[in-house]
């Protein structure tokens, strides 16, 4: 990442907005936003990681203590000796080994039997509910992360560290998108001209302004080390994205809320056990989370990462050694000083009668209760503010045990 703070030239795109007036010469430059360079001391940050496709919480965090675990999971029941024990007989699949390091440092809270407040097995509706923060898939196109930015006000900004703007960030508060590029670069004179044109386009003016405010992120040596590696090898693309997120979040005056996402979780066939497809995918996620913490360095304290999915998967395997869409699943909260080695779960059980509709892990914890607990602990928001972030949730109490 470039760190030169040269206000006298137009060469550094990061400062484009601040100095655009000088570059544009005689053209009208009224009311350009300016970047606040002051660093807020003890800045708090949030990263929301959405696992799109419905990740299997029973595979990631197996409840080995449950008397029905082996029978219900059948061919997808893990051998307890292969797993990393947590507490009360909950365990992590070995792919998540990097998360065990967070656990040992009291930086990981595991939540289980978590589900969105709306019963659906549709990816589309499930993601809509999770990302809008409402209790049904209709009613608002704005995302809860965007409402969070509005509620916090001040210099709060959001960024999507993924190609494209996710629903969770959509809305009136200032948000942007970033993803790695390997296309041709361009001069700022060229950008100056386009800036004039884009200001005249009602729909495109705002996203264009937001794009100009980003730092040029150099993924550095780590990026080069990707060459010759398989794209799905652990520590490649996902690590790079997580490192980039850390860089974006630590820019002076940059965003304090980031949305990230990963796909590939819709494991209808052969999801595997130890070393299988899902275990390896979880390994990539965990490796990315570790890379994120490393990259945050001294700025890690005060940062919270939440990992969620639109629904868990059916408790029993389907006919193809995979799992069909289900209801409740697992969720992770990672932060400095988070719940001390606790799996937060009001365990519903895996017995035939305990399963929802005889097939899914039953929900006992609302995703909004988890997120409210996270926001209360990260940003010190009041109950009234939390209810503005999650409308129609006044009867949903924040989970207080996350930040014990």
């Amino acid at each position: 990442m470039s760190t030169g703070l040269n206000h006298d030239t137009c060469m550094d795109r990061r400062h484009f907005i601040g100095v655009a007036g000088a570059c544009l010469g005689g053209l009208a430059t009224a009311s350009l936003p300016s970047i606040a360079f002051a660093q807020v001391p003890g800045r708090k940050r949030l990263v929301f990681v959405l696992l799109r496709g419905g990740f299997d919480g029973l595979a990631a965090v197996p409840p080995t203590f449950d008397p029905h675990y082996q029978a219900t999971r059948g061919a997808l029941a893990a051998k307890p000796s292969d797993l990393i024990p947590l507490e009360r007989g909950f365990a992590l699949t070995p792919g998540l080994a990097p998360l065990a390091e967070f656990w040992k440092r009291d930086e990981l809270a595991v939540l289980h039997a978590v589900a969105i407040p709306y019963r659906t097995r549709s990816h589309f509706d499930g993601q809509a509910v999770l990302e809008t923060g409402l209790d049904k898939p209709k009613g608002s196109s704005d995302g809860w992360l965007n409402r969070l930015l509005t509620v916090m006000g001040g210099s709060s900004k959001g960024v999507s560290v993924a190609a494209g703007m996710p629903r969770s960030l959509m809305g009136p508060a200032p948000v942007s998108t970033w993803s790695p590029a390997n296309l041709e670069s361009f001069s700022n004179t060229f950008l100056d001209r386009l800036h004039v044109l884009y200001r005249a386009d009602r729909e495109l003016a705002n996203p264009f302004e937001a794009a100009l405010a980003h730092p040029d992120i150099d993924l550095g040596d780590n990026d080069k080390s990707m060459k010759g590696r398989k794209p799905d090898a652990p520590g490649s693309q996902i690590d790079g994205l997580f490192r980039a997120a850390a860089k974006l979040l630590t820019v002076e005056g940059g965003p304090n809320v980031a949305a990230m996402e990963m796909s590939g979780w819709d494991t209808h066939t052969n999801q595997g056990l130890v070393g299988g497809y899902l275990d390896r995918l979880l390994g990539r996620l965990a490796s990315g989370l570790k890379a994120f913490r490393d990259e945050m360095g001294s700025q890690w304290p005060g940062t919270t990462v939440v990992v969620m999915t639109e629904f868990g998967r059916a408790a029993k395997p389907n006919g193809a050694q995979g799992t069909d869409h289900g209801t409740a699943g697992a969720s992770f909260v990672i932060a400095d000083g988070v719940a001390k080695r606790k799996v937060i779960a009001d365990w519903p059980g895996l017995g035939e009668k305990e399963l929802l509709e005889g097939r899914d892990l039953a929900p006992t914890l609302d995703t909004r209760a988890v997120l409210k607990g996270v926001l209360a602990g990260t940003f010190d928001l009041t109950g009234a503010q939390l209810n503005r972030v999650f409308p129609m949730s006044s009867n949903v109490r924040p989970v207080g045990r996350i930040f014990a």
Binding site: R121, F124, G164, T177, F186, Y198, A200, P207, T269, N318
Partner: protein, 450 residues
Amino acid sequence: MAALNRFGLGARPGEAEKIDDPRGWLMAQIQGAPPSLAETPPTDAEVAKVQADFIEANRAKDKDRRKAAAKAMVNLRRREVGHVLTTRVVTDRPFAERWVAFWSNHLCVSTANAQRLAVLVGAYERQAIRPHVFGKFEDMLLASARHPAMLLYLDNNASVGPDSPAVTRRRGRKRRKPPRPRRTDINENYARELLELHTVGVDAGYTQEDVIQLARMLTGWTFQGPGDRNKHPLGFRFAPRTHEPGAKTVMGVRYKEAGEAEGVHVLRDLAHRPETARHIATKIVRHFVADDPPPAVVARLAKLWTDTGGDLRRIATALVHSDEAWQEKHKKFRSPQDWVVASLRVLGTKEVPPLAAGALRQLRHTLWAPKAPKGYDDVTSTWADPDSLIKRIRTSRAFARRFGSSTDPGMLLDVVASADAELIRMVRDPAARPVDRVALFLASPEFQWR
């Protein structure tokens, strides 16, 4: 200009002047047979061989062979992508090609999380979608349901009736050694997406039980292996042994046990339902008119769908004669594929450079690779995010450098309905380098809309 940009794939310089009857020009494109590709596609035998080699290499656990087979798969996919993009760039029936792309995305298959589909995605569009774009929707739906790409993509080939002969007979047998995991139950993936995405839509009021019953009706729908021993490698096959016996009820309609015919009946019924008409009409209007589809056009097309049993040529005709589609107040942001194709068309090239595929990857719009079975989204907010705008700007530089030197920048202004005075000044500015002016035009806000 709406005929060329909104309905078509972008104007070439000077093309607008040659069209004096825009509606007639569009109507002519949707007569006769669906358009064919600009280049000869791989043969079925070649597709089957590449697929068979890959399966055999995996079975043999031979690393070098597997590597070579995977490379052949990627190359074949690249060829198919190249043929489609080239066709979109050179075609004289751009409306018909947009129509193909729309249906291919509606009933999409994807290699995003399934590299094993690489050989089949191009064949799927050629065989299941393209031949039916001016026919009945139910025939396209059936062709899609029977194609190996869809059978693999949404796992229907892995769906087995729990009370089918294949399962019950196995249960009765004494096991000598621990059997390798076998399929013994339905996989509801395809049935769910069939209802939610392909036909009636998520709001149609179906239940989990409907999904299960539909999945049971479609058990046994699979395909022949790619090897030479099969008469029709990769051809559709109904396997009675894995078909779930008994009557089934889906969305209130009871179907008697009828083997393969059950699936055919229920697919045809779903294609005709009013919920399907409304769901798909909304998507069509969103694609051709506006992100927020005007309800009057949707209602008109939905009624026509119901009246004609989903006659896609009649629907396309009605669209051409919908005044809303011609109004300037409605506009659509070009998807990355649209923008790349429109750029190459305006630059007058007949060649699709490798950098086009790279740009589409960066812009999240690689052919046949949406992340979810829903297909690619079709609204401004999906494609006009800050990062994507910056990537379009970068790509416009690369296109201009590659193809722009033989282009007169001033001519480019012919292909947009209207241009900001500043844009006209900049594109005509003799002091700026022509290549920069070409890039500026491709990156300009005016060129992002259709």
